[in-house]
Subunit: 129 residues, 2 copies
Amino acid sequence: MHIGEAATATGMTTKTLRFYEGRGLLPAPRRAGNGYREYGSDAIARLDFIRRSRIAGLTLTQIGEILRVRDAGQAPCTHVRDLLARQLADLDQQVSELLALRSDVAALHNVVAAADPVSCDPGQICSFL
Amino acid sequence: MHIGEAATATGMTTKTLRFYEGRGLLPAPRRAGNGYREYGSDAIARLDFIRRSRIAGLTLTQIGEILRVRDAGQAPCTHVRDLLARQLADLDQQVSELLALRSDVAALHNVVAAADPVSCDPGQICSFL
DNA sequence: CTGCACCTTCCCCTATAGTGGAAGGTCAAG
DNA sequence: CTTGACCTTCCACTATAGGGGAAGGTGCAG
């Protein structure tokens, strides 16, 4: 299987596959006589795993950690569990920060929307921000 | 006022001030005889405005838009209002995406946490992701 | 006169996840 | 034999908001 087929099969681009290889997420595949990369079904499975993990919001670095644990012969279950727990805590943190920001922006927007543009003082940049 | 004092006064670094100047957020200040930048209180006010806008979650590009409207002599009120409305919509979008992701990750985490690591199939990378 | 703190410009680096394009090699079809 | 679709490597660039540090000039104190 050439890189183009592997890319199509996983819904990625050839660029992305080479990029993952450079990042150490994908092992360097064996090469055909002409230098072309040759992928097997294991590479496809690995790419699918990466894609699913990305959809789950994991970074490439985190995915790499899981893969290294797995490549070392261990079941990455506990590692995955901890990673997901951390990810969950991060998400909660992000959501609460975003909601706080949203609340501030909403308050600001209400004030600005209720204001009369004529009342703006030309001497300052903006009386609301 | 030299750049270092202006930086201290606004809680920024000299790097940031030169960076803002390069980005067009801060007009090029007049120079002293030795080439040093000389800032006045108007620059400080502008930097404070930038800082407050950043805290409100606006990007430097958005802040630049407001400043250009203001510099053109117009009151940026309606522009600021529209910008904040867009910002609000963006934030809502981000929050809902983040919550959807959080829900997926939480479900995944529950499954993994309840699982027995021994039951992991060494033939695949991870049975959960 | 020397040191130190401050200033100048310049270029590269950070992190994220790739994308774009150049220059060149390969393979199958017409 | 040429065309087009692939493939290779390598380098640069995207967006965001600056940070690090070099090489050199300036200003004031001891």
